[in-house]
């Protein structure tokens, strides 16, 4: 009896595998909730509750925006083989750039576009730096981008505690509020800053087209799938990596501008801005299986998980860690299902 790779699994098997694992995850979650003294069914209901009312949908939407932007970019980057773990830092760089334009340049109709440009640009440069270190020195980008996150974190703290500290914030760690020209419009009285959402949708569509309908995209895909073949074909790996890094950094920077111009309307403590989006977006990208277009589905999905976890926190006064447990279990079940569905049991005589 052996486990081996199944080159063409039947859709039935895939469906079965996924159902099995999701059921397993739900069972474990249910057990956890029971241990906590909460009825599992009630808990599941709460997890899905954001879908039930406009308030919840707005909460899902608010989280989807940065996840979509960053996730689409990361889907590309991972596909090409550039493991960008630095989206958190690139997002913050974008926030810094956007804040600079908002507070230190004369405001006008050009403010918002300029914010996005500078913020995206800073994010791109930051990511590009890691790509350059890899191409030039062979420095592993997982490590460099991770370290870079810390660097930007402290840069933001320095700015809000020092040179950029607001005049009207009683010494707390904030800049002054952005002028109205630097504020993104929102949907109704929710926090959904829809221009950034549109940017995200455009990014997902655009990257998908780029990846699958252009020669550049072809080169990217070859490089990602088979670096040896790429070299054999004479593709310039370094340049391709750099370009993918710049793009994914740019998008993360845009997300950062969106956060400060759409939600906070000022620069503040970094942990409050990035809220783990950079890391959650890794999951968005992975679930999208290397197709930026699919981020349009996986980003809201993860947004729902996060919002649902918060609903649990709120309704049952559960500790905030419950979100991590839910996300962790669901993720494990998903990859287990994927692995299971791609293999088959072979009986040997």
């Amino acid at each position: 009896m052996r486990w081996e790779l199944d080159p063409s699994p039947s859709p039935w098997k895939v469906f079965l595998a996924y159902s099995l694992f999701v059921a397993l995850a739900l069972l474990l979650l249910g057990l956890l909730f029971r241990l906590y003294g909460v009825s599992p069914l009630k808990a599941y209901g709460l997890l899905l509750s954001p879908l039930g009312d406009s308030l919840g949908l707005a909460e899902v939407g608010r989280r989807t925006i940065p996840l979509l932007l960053i996730g689409a970019g990361l889907a590309l980057a991972f596909r090409v083989g550039f493991f960008n773990i630095g989206a958190e830092g690139q997002l913050l760089m974008g926030a810094v750039g956007g804040t600079y334009v908002a507070l230190f340049l004369p405001p006008g109709p050009w403010t918002l576009p300029l914010m996005f440009l500078l913020g995206g640009g800073l994010g791109a440069v930051w990511s590009g730096l890691a790509a350059w270190l890899r191409v030039r020195f062979g420095a592993n980008e997982i490590l460099t981008t991770l370290m870079q996150n810390y660097l930007v974190y402290y840069l933001v703290v320095y700015l809000v505690a020092g040179p950029w500290k607001g005049q009207m914030v009683f010494g707390f760690l904030y800049t002054d509020r952005f002028p109205p020209e630097a504020q993104l419009p929102r949907l109704g009285d929710t926090l959904v800053h829809w221009p950034t959402l549109l940017l995200g949708i455009a990014a997902a569509l655009g990257l998908q087209l780029l990846l699958f309908r252009t020669p550049l995209g072809f080169e990217w895909r070859v490089l990602g799938e088979n670096p040896e073949a790429a070299r054999y074909l004479g593709l310039k790996g370094g340049r391709l990596i750099l370009l993918a890094a710049l793009l994914s950094g740019f998008l993360a920077g845009l997300a950062g501008v969106g956060e400060v111009a759409g939600i906070h309307l000022r620069l503040l403590e970094p942990a409050q801005i990035s809220l783990g989006y950079g890391f959650t977006a890794i999951l968005v990208a992975w679930l999208a299986r290397g197709r930026p277009l699919w981020a349009l589905f996986t980003a809201p999905l993860l947004g729902l998980i996060l919002a649902g976890g918060d609903a649990l926190k709120l309704a049952l006064s559960m500790p905030f860690r419950v979100v991590d447990v839910v996300a962790g279990l669901l993720l494990l079940s998903l990859i287990g299902a994927e692995a299971l569905s791609q293999r088959r049991l072979v009986w040997r005589r």
């Binding site: 308030l55 505690a161 020092g162 009683f170 010494g171 926090l191 503040l268 409050q272 500790p319 860690r321």
Partner: protein, 379 residues
């Protein structure tokens, strides 16, 4: 007839006494944890709930600022009549929420802006820190006192300054070495910062961080320390001298009672601002509840002497007499009484004056004796 009236009155009375439960909901900025800011607020909530039978409470922990408004929306939907927002950063969410829901009462901790239905409240330690400073100055053999600080905001600076003024009152040559860890909660940073200060000769410690790490680390090398925010004596029973303890429940109970009695409504909170101190019993000096100074250290403090108004007094007596004064309904002593210069020599509080509330809330300067980085120090 009388019987029916009596029954009617009884029924009315019962209905009134049962009343509606007042539902108060709390928004916490961090996890409840085992010490520190949010833990203290939650203790206050629990005590209020225990003391007021008509009170029902709910809470959410670790709410980032971006989420405060949606949380307020949810809370109001669930019928919360009073919402406590326990972080400065929730200010805009609170003000927006107040406009959206004019019949809901909001109270914003450490807030500065009010509205007809938004009150602000704070329990401050600066007096307690001064008293702790007196003890620290007396107990330090090296003349170097360590302070592990979180973020350079006025509240923390105010506390460090009060502490330093106290230290210098006993030992005019002493220094307070400050290290910033740029985090509210980070045991690793707190540990290493304490070690760094120990390496530079500090032998007494105070801090602003949400764990007892500084205390445990200092105790390993035999250094004294002062607990922060919650009773921390148990973490180093031989080395914790005193500390600052907060009683948010005092404020919560007072506020909620007034809401229940109709003294506070959703229309008249424009000028309701609690800046409560020792005299209101909102804060306490102590290593543990009811232990103002660790008995192990009392003899040392009684032997130590300081000069007050030209006369020599024992530090212990000075601490206790000031404590008594500041706990009384009409305190006369205030640590921030002029003339006070900052460490650059600029006069910050002129002679004969006390610092105003505004000056306290926006304090950016450093007291003489403070040594170290001081982000945002005025030129």
């Amino acid at each position: 007839m009388r019987r029916i009236l009596g029954l009617l009155l009884l029924a009315l009375g019962l209905a009134w006494a049962q009343g509606d439960k007042l539902k108060a909901c709390f928004i916490y900025v961090g996890p409840i944890g085992d010490a520190g800011w949010t833990y203290a607020h939650d203790q206050g909530r629990k005590k209020a709930e225990a003391a007021l039978p008509w009170l029902e409470t709910r809470y959410v922990e670790s709410v980032p600022e971006a989420q405060a408004l949606p949380v307020i929306d949810r809370f109001v939907r669930e019928g919360c009549q009073v919402i406590f927002a326990t972080s400065f950063g929730y200010m805009e969410a609170v003000l927006e929420g107040a406009k959206k829901y004019p019949n809901v009462i909001f109270a914003h901790a450490t807030g500065v802006k009010r509205a007809p239905n938004v009150a602000t409240y704070m329990a401050d330690f600066y007096q307690v820190y001064y008293l702790n400073g007196l003890a620290a100055g007396a107990l330090s053999k090296t003349g170097k006192v360590g302070y592990v600080a979180a973020f350079p905001i006025p509240e923390v600076k105010r506390h460090i300054n009060a502490f330093t003024l106290g230290v210098r009152a006993v030992n005019p040559k002493a220094q307070v070495l400050v290290r910033w860890i740029n985090a509210w909660y980070d045991p690793a940073k707190a540990r290493e910062a304490t070690e760094a200060l120990l390496a530079q000769g500090a032998d007494v410690f105070a801090f602003t961080e949400d764990t007892p790490t500084v205390i445990q680390t200092a105790a390993k090398k035999g250094a004294y320390s002062f607990g922060h925010y919650t009773p921390m004596l148990k973490f180093a029973p031989d080395h914790v001298v005193s500390g600052q303890i907060v009683h948010w429940d005092v404020i919560y109970i007072d506020f909620l009672k007034k809401v229940k009695e109709g003294v506070y409504t959703a229309k008249n909170l424009q000028n309701v601002d609690y800046f409560w101190l020792l005299q209101h019993k909102a804060v306490e000096m102590g290593a543990d509840y009811g232990v103002p100074i660790n008995p192990k250290h009392v003899p040392l403090l009684q032997k130590a002497e300081m000069t007050v108004g030209g006369k020599k007094v024992s530090v212990y007596d000075r601490i206790m007499s000031l404590l008594k004064d500041m706990q009384s309904p009409k305190p006369t002593f205030d640590p921030f009484t002029g003339p006070i210069q900052d460490r650059k020599g600029v006069v910050r509080i002129p002679a004969g004056k006390k610092a105003t509330l505004q000056e306290l809330l926006t304090m950016e300067w450093a007291a003489p004796g403070v040594v170290g980085d001081w982000p945002g120090e005025p030129k």
